[in-house]
Amino acid sequence: MIQLVWLAVLFPLLGAVINAALAFRRPMAKTAVSIVGVGVMAAAFAVALAVFRELQQSPVASYSVVLWHWMPVTDRLSIDLAFQVDHLSSVMLLVITGVGGLIHLFSVGYMRSDPGYARYFAYLNLFIVFMLVLVLGASLPVSFIGWEGVGLCSYLLIGFWYEVDANSNAGKKAFLANRIGDFGVLIAMFLIWWSLGTLDFTGIMMQGGAHWSRGSTMPLLVALFLFLGCTGKSAQIPLYVWLPDAMAGPTPVSALIHAATMVTAGVFLVVRTAAVFTLAPVALEVVAVVGALTAFFAATIGLRQYDIKKVLAYSTVSQLGYMFLGVGTTAFASGIFHLITHAFFKALLFLGAGSVIHAMHHALHHAHSHADPQDMRNMGGLRRAMPWTFALMGIATLAIAGVPPFAGFFSKDEILGAAFARGSEHPIYYVCWALGLAAALMTAFYMSRLVAMTFFGKYRGGEKSAEHLHEAPWVMTGPLVILAILTIGGGLINLPHFAGGSSWLEHWLAPVVQVAMMMVTPTPEIPSGMETTLIALAIVAAVTGLVGGYVLTTRSSIVTPEHAPEERGIWSLLYHKYYVDEVYHRLIVDPTMWLSRRALWQTVDAFLIDRIGVGGTARLAEGLGWLGSRLQNGQVAFYVTMFAVGAVLILRTLVR
């Protein structure tokens, strides 16, 4: 079955092709589109499950499935289109096809009345194809196909409702921010090939250990350029700005691409090339610090957002920061653990939000209200109309806040523990830990604020729309229930010793990062007394945040957006997201526009090339022609004189 892993890629590819064909020929054949779109995901999940089962029983930890010789460039460089099936990619395979499949199912309900239904499923299937290529790729170029492909699908899906200008602009922004990161990955690839002569992940791991010394410049450069790619794809400082705008896409897309799978590609890439990072301790510190800072700053912005999806978007940026903090402290398994649990609870949160938006949209639509169905100030008291969604989102909120025994608690606690433990080696990690803990407190706060604003209190959307509020159909709540079960039980896959578990995921992933871990000192042990204190601190932070968020939100009077007062002081700063977009606009967009318009277009192209170059040549020819035409003045006598003079001159040269 492992040799047949390409089937997992082929099924969604078939789905994408068929759905694309349907989008052109039969856009209204929604039943066929649903069956194909969800069916291929079920098939892919079955393949993933079979591969995982076989790998579990296999004594070999890593298989390479070569499909064909892709680029036989030279004797030194020959790239195969090959898939690497190992413990890491098999887990990712399960998460992507599993969570992806559930989101496909949810989309059947959510997108039911959309005219672009077939096109939507074609994009969604295509995204899965590229995501699977990304995680399965056995070499950087193969993974890069997926890396670029998911970026493309992300662009297509963010701008899915392209009739609205803002949506297509958000798509472009995402694509451009990602391109900056992709440039980093490309440079890293060139450097690796130049220095090591191989691009296979196993080759990089082996050759890197053999040819690079720890702490030298080359692995540092490679790691930093790779990390630049990760900051783009995984929305870290400084390239995170595209992710909140990506919420312009349909909500299930936000769940699948901008929360559960694509944005975690950066974390995955760091783990895949872990050996490079452990050879460059400075790069690891950069990863950890950037992760912690992102976790902290994104969480602060999340405190003062009103759009339900924007809160979740900043929460995603913040949680991705945690993952990088994890891998930056060489707790690779913890990073992947948080990636998986986050995929569960963030998909649940986004789909729950989608369910809320769906209900709000219909209710407001029936009441002919033009209020924003995503603004939480228009919601309130929805728990009575939508008990299922409320309960399921409540579970996800407890999980992301880090309340035991939900999945998020264990993964977040492990990352914070690893950061604290590394603190004895370098004090910067204590700072990272403190930032992470503060972010955990704020996460709990803004999540409980979200739930309180949405589900508690009085409905603020107007009386006329209140009676139209209804629970989502089963095809939407069904996937939510499954995700909720995973959210509750997800922690089991890496249950730590103190909770009576055996850290299964850590042992499972050990072979993947084995070589990398040989380059670094093992994570120092935390004394068990200290460990208990840390856990207690984390729980206190979570509970304080949750209670604080609930109490402060329900006590304050929430007014609908049109009556909302001006934000003041620090709140204004947070509400406007630290004006980062505006600063980027001034520092990057405006100069680029100036360079393009003034310098390159008006000066170089219009003036230098058009006026001087092209126009100048024409005028030169015209002038010379005018001079020549003066000779033809119509006076025969003049011609004859010229002729005579010419004849005399010729005779003079002939007769010497």
Binding site: G628, A637, A644
Partner: protein
């Protein structure tokens, strides 16, 4: 008398005739006079041909017949053109015939 002794004076006469022709073409504005000057140049050349034919055989004399034939044809065509121009412009002054110019 040795005809070769006459070569030098003949060529001098021919050159004088030719230069007269050239000068006439260059300075006169009457189309018919210019035309006659062209004929003068042709005949100067004919004279040269004849003179050299005494040394190099009859090919020069044959050439003269060609030149005379062409000159006759040219005279016919040229005079016809001048007539046509005169009908059109009531003038044979070359300075006035200047419609073709850049």
């Amino acid at each position: 008398m040795d005809t070769r002794l006459l070569l030098g004076p003949t060529l001098v006469v021919s050159a004088i005739l030719f230069v007269l022709g050239v000068a006439g073409v260059l300075v006169r504005r009457n189309a018919i006079v210019v035309f006659m000057c062209v004929e003068l140049m042709l005949n100067a050349v004919n004279l040269t041909f004849i003179a050299f034919a005494q040394l190099h055989g009859v090919s020069g004399q044959i050439m003269v017949f060609f030149v005379m034939t062409v000159a006759a044809a040219e005279a016919a065509v040229g005079l016809a053109i001048i007539l046509a121009i005169f009908r059109h412009t009531q003038s044979v002054d070359l300075a006035h015939i200047n419609l073709l110019k850049g």
